[in-house]
């Protein structure tokens, strides 16, 4: 087996993991909420994209135009769902323990799982047209779908935009102030509530975007959010919760480990993701990119 094929396959999977996990780590970094409902955002994004693709191609519009509609549709659905969750439930829970917040978002995940079934039913959805439209390429004698290869570029673009947004804009600077000291930020006149709302909405949007981008390549079925969230957890915990750079390294580690496992030792495919997670946690208890906190009495 050509090692380059494994690397490329790993890179495709890593890109996907990065898109899935950035929103999760962003929300944790700012709000200290490990958002389990991120899995539902992924599912909502995927279902929305599939619905839009279905309507679009039924009307016989030009195929290349569909990309704009299904991607922006998924993002929009993510923002709306994020705002509803933040304003409806999380708002009253701020200040609770981190573990309590996990349980709150776990409850939201459970509720949304059934809400999704109510809206879209329990039958599987397919939105293959955008996936097959881009064709295939032969690299090192192995056939890759172009859609998957473009995913690498999309992940890079998302990474760069996030970096610019966090480091080069006024809002990014406010965000860093809030991350470092929420009380002082309030005293300095920063509207922390607004920062929270925007961060949560953008985090959810990224989750839904990940779902939307994945939708054309898979069959969309109930329960997909529950499967995804656990992999996303592994990625962000490996990199260090709250670190975008960490999410990138975590995605690459998990993506490559999985690709090697799938190609060389298929028996350990599932084991390897959590194996890497346990190994990293054992060596660096707070993940690769986060320093341990000083204990306070």
């Amino acid at each position: 087996m050509n090692i380059l094929v494994i690397l490329l396959d790993g890179l495709v999977y890593s890109s996907w993991l990065f898109i899935v996990s950035t929103g999760l780590t962003l929300i944790y970094g700012v709000m200290r909420i490990l958002n389990m409902a991120h899995g539902s955002m992924y599912a909502i994004g995927a279902y929305t994209a599939a619905t839009i693709v279905g309507i679009y191609f039924n009307h016989g519009f030009v195929p290349w135009g569909s990309y704009f509609f299904f991607i922006s549709g998924a993002m929009f659905a993510g923002i709306i769902a994020g705002l509803l969750i933040e304003r409806g439930i999380l708002r009253i829970m701020y200040g609770s323990d981190e573990v309590i917040m996990i349980l709150v978002t776990y409850a939201i995940l459970l509720i949304l799982e059934d809400v999704i079934k109510f809206i879209w039913g329990v039958e599987g959805y397919f939105a293959y047209q955008p996936y097959t439209y881009l064709g295939r390429s032969h690299i090192f004698g192995i056939s890759f779908t172009n859609y998957d290869l473009y995913l690498i570029i999309v992940a890079a673009i998302i990474g760069v935009i996030l970096w610019l947004w966090l480091n080069k804009t006024r809002f990014g600077k406010l965000l860093i102030a809030v991350i470092n000291d929420q009380e002082i930020s309030v005293a300095m006149g920063i509207n922390v509530t607004k920062v929270y709302i925007i961060t949560f909405a953008i985090g959810c949007m990224l989750g839904a975007l990940a779902g939307g981008l994945t939708a054309p390549g898979i069959s969309i079925v109930p329960g997909m959010g529950i499967q995804i969230i656990i992999v996303a957890f592994a990625v962000v915990v490996i990199g260090g919760l709250g670190s975008i750079g960490g999410a990138l390294i975590g995605s690459l580690l998990v993506g490559m480990a999985r690709a090697f496992a799938v190609h060389l030792f298929p028996q350990i495919e599932l084991f390897v993701i959590y194996g890497v997670m346990a190994l990293v946690l054992a060596i660096r208890p707070h993940g690769l990119f986060v320093r341990a906190k000083v204990r306070k009495i």
Binding site: V99, I102, L112, A234, V237, E269, A278
Partner: protein, 318 residues
């Protein structure tokens, strides 16, 4: 435990036992399975008293179930007590090794680390064809010191054994809660550094509590396997562990009996919700979880506490 509580406990357990002859079969099964699962929940409550939430208690639940199945299928061991001892021994080794590592972790890192371990076991079992892969395999009813029984008596015996174990576990875990170590566990939750200043290692406290929770989960897993007659890798999947966390929160950590009541309640809600409307089961579960967290953060048991306080208040006012 005072005499009154003791009598109530005995009566409840006896009622379930006698109920075996009066109630329909499904109801007895429901009681039996909820009592078996309550052991895992009790383990979680023990961990919650030290301030830790495990999202991977399914690991030991699954070990308990699969040890029972493997003993029967591959080694021809069918004796209940032998299987239980082997299960406890294995879970002690696993919890000893993992506990050494996990006692350094707190909060979400503890939750995530325990989750990773249970998912590792899930990943291994799913890919092992000799263990039935994703389908799992069937488990027979056990024998007791080579005494085998018919199916109906076997079902009764497993109920009897579950009730007996539940009785002793409740008595001894209650004693543990009221022992020095039990109180230190509570203080570790409140403030670890102060406990350390008093000359006690919080890590050892966590280690002991973790191992205890692991043993309870293993016992629960083995009992569940015998009662339901089947094991599958979903026992180690994170949603199973999540369900146990839910039941633990439902009961609260205030009394050792709370997990048992919560477990029975949970199985009833589960059954009726599935029966009436299978697609709204998770909405019901999620909504109850939210309501409990917001309004009853100390679990259903605290309802009694609220009423008692009200009575005291009324009495002092009058």
């Amino acid at each position: 435990m005072d005499k009154k509580t003791h009598m109530i406990l005995l009566c409840c357990l006896l009622l379930i036992l006698i109920g075996n002859f009066i109630f329909p079969k499904w109801l007895t099964f429901l009681f039996n399975i909820s009592l078996a699962k309550a052991f895992i929940v009790l383990g979680l409550v023990i961990l919650m008293r030290v301030g830790l939430v495990s999202f991977g208690q399914g690991l030991y639940y699954c070990i308990g179930g699969y040890v029972a199945g493997i003993c029967q299928k591959f080694f021809g061991i069918n004796d209940f007590f032998m299987i239980l001892l082997i299960g406890i021994f294995i879970s002690l080794i696993v919890s000893f090794l993992l506990g050494l590592l996990l006692c350094n972790y707190r909060d979400i890192f503890f939750a995530m680390f325990t989750l990773a371990f249970s998912m590792i076991l899930y990943g291994i079992i799913v890919k092992t064809e000799t263990l039935g892969s994703t389908d799992g395999f069937n488990v027979k009813l056990p024998t007791y010191f080579t005494i085998s029984s018919s199916f109906a008596t076997g079902k009764f015996l497993i109920l009897l054994i579950t009730i007996l174990i539940a009785y002793f576990v409740i008595i001894y875990i209650r004693k543990f809660f009221n022992s020095e170590l039990g109180y230190i566990s509570l203080s570790t939750k409140e403030n670890e550094i102060r406990v350390e200043y008093l000359g006690i290692s919080p890590k050892i406290v966590i280690f002991i509590n973790y191992s205890l929770a692991a043993i309870l989960a293993t016992v629960g897993g083995a009992l569940t396997a015998f009662v339901s007659g089947h094991v599958d890798p979903d026992m180690a999947y994170w949603t199973t562990s999540g369900e146990f966390v839910f039941v633990a929160l439902l009961g609260g950590t205030m009394h050792v009996i709370a997990p048992f009541i919560a477990s029975i309640l949970f199985e009833f809600i589960h059954m009726y919700a599935y029966d009436i409307s299978p697609n709204t089961w998770q909405i019901i579960l999620g909504s109850i979880l939210l309501l409990i967290i917001i309004f009853l953060p100390r679990g259903l048991w605290s309802i009694g506490e609220i009423f008692r306080k009200k009575e005291v208040k009324d009495a002092s006012n009058s």
